[in-house]
């Protein structure tokens, strides 16, 4: 077993330290070391987007980032999105629009939508579809997801 490295990073605004093997992905670190299981593994090769998180303001597949690469960086995950007493508007919009069925892809879609709305607060339907094409959903046919993101943008 390779020697574990010490990493200090910021997750959802809090300074976090952890030990990880060089081969462990950020997704593994989040899920197995830090017990932040909101990011899901659907493919472990960047195809499905279920593990989407925001790294220094940029949307990434956490399965394609190594844990050690997050040293000194800032990670936003689904667990950090809601306020203690209220949901983020994107989360509300997903509930109002019934934009989830099984829910396994939902954290990834919400993080992806947040990254979109952070940089483009008023996207067109096409822009939403283009941006979310990196996230797979097998249940909904995407209709209600796209509507939820457009609604969240309008609500801002």
């Amino acid at each position: 077993m390779a020697r574990r490295s010490h990493v200090q990073t910021t997750i959802n605004g809090e300074t976090v330290e952890f030990l990880c093997e060089p081969r462990q992905s950020l997704l593994e670190v989040l899920r197995d070391e830090l017990h932040l299981t909101g990011a899901k593994e659907g493919c472990n090769n960047g195809n499905c987007g279920a593990c989407s998180v925001i790294l220094d303001g940029r949307l990434v597949n956490s399965c394609l980032v190594l844990g050690v690469e997050t040293e000194g960086k800032s990670v936003e995950t689904i667990e950090g999105l809601a306020e203690p007493d209220k949901l983020h508007p994107i989360q509300d919009a997903f509930l109002e629009n019934a934009a989830l069925q099984c829910g396994i892809c939902t954290p990834g879609f919400i993080m992806s939508a947040k990254a979109l709305l952070d940089q483009n607060p008023n996207p067109t339907e096409h822009e939403v579809r283009y941006w979310l094409a990196g996230n797979l959903c097998r249940c909904t046919g995407y209709d209600k997801i796209v509507r939820a993101v457009l609604d969240a943008a309008a609500a801002k």
Binding site: E21, C43, G134, R138, G141, D143
Partner: protein, 751 residues
Amino acid sequence: MLENKDYKVIGTRPIRHDGVDKVTGRALYGADFQMAGLLHGRVLRSPHAHAKIISIDTSRAEALPGVKGVVTAKDLPGAEDRIADLGEGAVNLKHLCDNVLASDKVLYKGHAIAAVAATNPHIAEEACTLIDVEYEVLPPVLEVRQAMEPDAPLLHETLKTTSMGETADEPSNVASHIQHKLGDPEKGFAEADVIIEREFVTGTVHQGYIEPHNATAHYNQDGQLTIWCSTQGAFTVREQVAEILQYPISKIKVVPMEIGGGFGGKISVYIKPVAALLAKKTGKPVKVLMNRADVFEGTGPTPASFIRVKMGATKEGKITAAQGYLAFEAGAYPGSPVGPGAMCIFAPYSIENVIIDGYDVVVNKPKTAPYRAPGAPNAAFGSETVLDEIAEKLGIDPLEIRLINGAKEGDRRADGPVHPRIGFIETVEAAKAHPHYTAPNGKKHHGRGVASGYWFNIGLESSVTINVNSDGTINLIEGSTDIGGTRASIAMQAAEVLGIPAESVNPSVVDTNSVGYTAVTGGSRTTYATGYAAYEAAQDVKRQMIARAAKLWEVDEANVQFADGEFSSINGKEEQISFRDLCARFGETGGPVVGSGTVNPGGAGGAYATHVVDVEVDEETGKVDILRYTAVQDAGKAIHPSYVEGQIQGGAVQGIGWALNEEYIYNAEGEMTNASFLDYRMPTCLDLPMIDAVIVEVPNPGHPYGVRGVGEVPIVPPMAAIANAVYDAIGVRMTELPMSPDRLLKAMGKI
């Protein structure tokens, strides 16, 4: 017949009860389960599509530091060669065992051979590469017609064709032949003015759920086995594991975690018994996860098929006869959904003369599993394309020919059952009146197509318990795992009975020790049957509370009525108490109120759908774009319309993927060459328009609120609807799925 009346809760769109957990990442799915001292398991899979296992040597793997245990088929007790019904369809237990861990032969690439438990998943994976397996590689059989040839290599030396109750003498890859016959097909074809006969080929496709299979197992020292997993049915997992391990069901507890999609693919067990074997061997809890390639190669997709359809009609458009030949690839072991395919193929129509033959054929591909209306989409691709061609030949509008022949209450399906009240005609009428169908469609390379579909839906056993709280809310305990919002649709039915808001119900999906037997979330049965059980449990609560009110007022129970959330006494002194206030007085009227309901209903009403699609075909690249999509469906009664629309939209889009792109691509050695999401390529949101879901409500007389299952039928029409639209666009009939760019260019004669 039920009135399509208005309800207080049913038909509204409350926020689903598990919604906040699922948008905050707090909901715990199978892979999220953690436990102290957990070991991690990985499965070694066959690199060959067809081979004898000569020997397995696990010693090098066992010697790797961090490895705690290795298991092979030798660790299985060995199940009997008998058939059991363990969910959505019958299973041969010997085959089930061999599919979990191969004993003598591997029958597909990805077939599980051995498994390792280690202190972390990387070590387990590394250890798998140290297991030495010696194979005698055999030629693979990869296609259904090839497998049916008399000289085809045999997968199973002992498998013999059963046909209409008779078993053949010689072994064969054809496991069974079924036939349904109605009337006199020869006479019917003789009466036809136009006869169309076409052959169709469909590819192997996967359910494509985003969450890979997972299982964590632990044996206590007292022999209690607990399995935490994602499944469509905790009770079927318990039954299958009990059979495979030859272990009593009373010693197995299955805890269903949240499930990340199933569509039929999470009924059969794969790694759950393997996790149990590893847990037993190591004495530690063991978590086994599949990766995406394991899911594609090692779990059941839905079959490829060869289908021949012949239909005849008079010049007025009346279908006089229909013939279907369906040969389905079962995969490595018998049990394809050719049966349901044969039940559904002509079921939208009232046809006097029908003959349907179905063949279940083994090939060197993963053992197939149910996938949303299993068998029906393959069948409908053939029948709905041929009907389109007949309509075109006769110059009749394709929806009109469906109205002329549409099945109604009292008509007999070719496989026997007589239709109760059904809503097929209503779906066609709604499609015909929809602005999509009446919109102009004249541009070059644009085309419009329609198709219909049928799925019978199932009932089966469900149990619900309701614990009434002193504040007027209820805790609803159920055994149906929630794949798409069924906590809400079940809770709403109980709420309707008790006159309380949907938000006053706290639904919980619990383990197999904590609720009565409940069959799988499958067959579009959950809102129907478990909803029915919730209705019965709520009726039980109501009856008990009427008794409590009677006690309180010292009147006869017959003199208490319940309406609009209020109990009141009739005949005598005037008393009134709300549901909530009466809940607060349980202590003085006899103690807590717990209601229960169990059902095994026989009245699952069949579901029909009619879809309209506009496509654009790029003649240079062969790519088909979906421009507009409208899906009409009879839901009986939509309990939560948003989630009914969601089922319709999701099913339609899975059908679009099946129609245009999805397939297992094999090389000559029988290796799947596209076992990743990138290469298998399911639809993304950029590939699609909005999907207009139109709900028609023709109440099902077999349910107190008229519910019909809605989950499966929306995947039935899309393939034929799109093929018919492609024909309308470019004048080429596509008879092979998927209609990928290369196949389209070939059909257009461009390559």
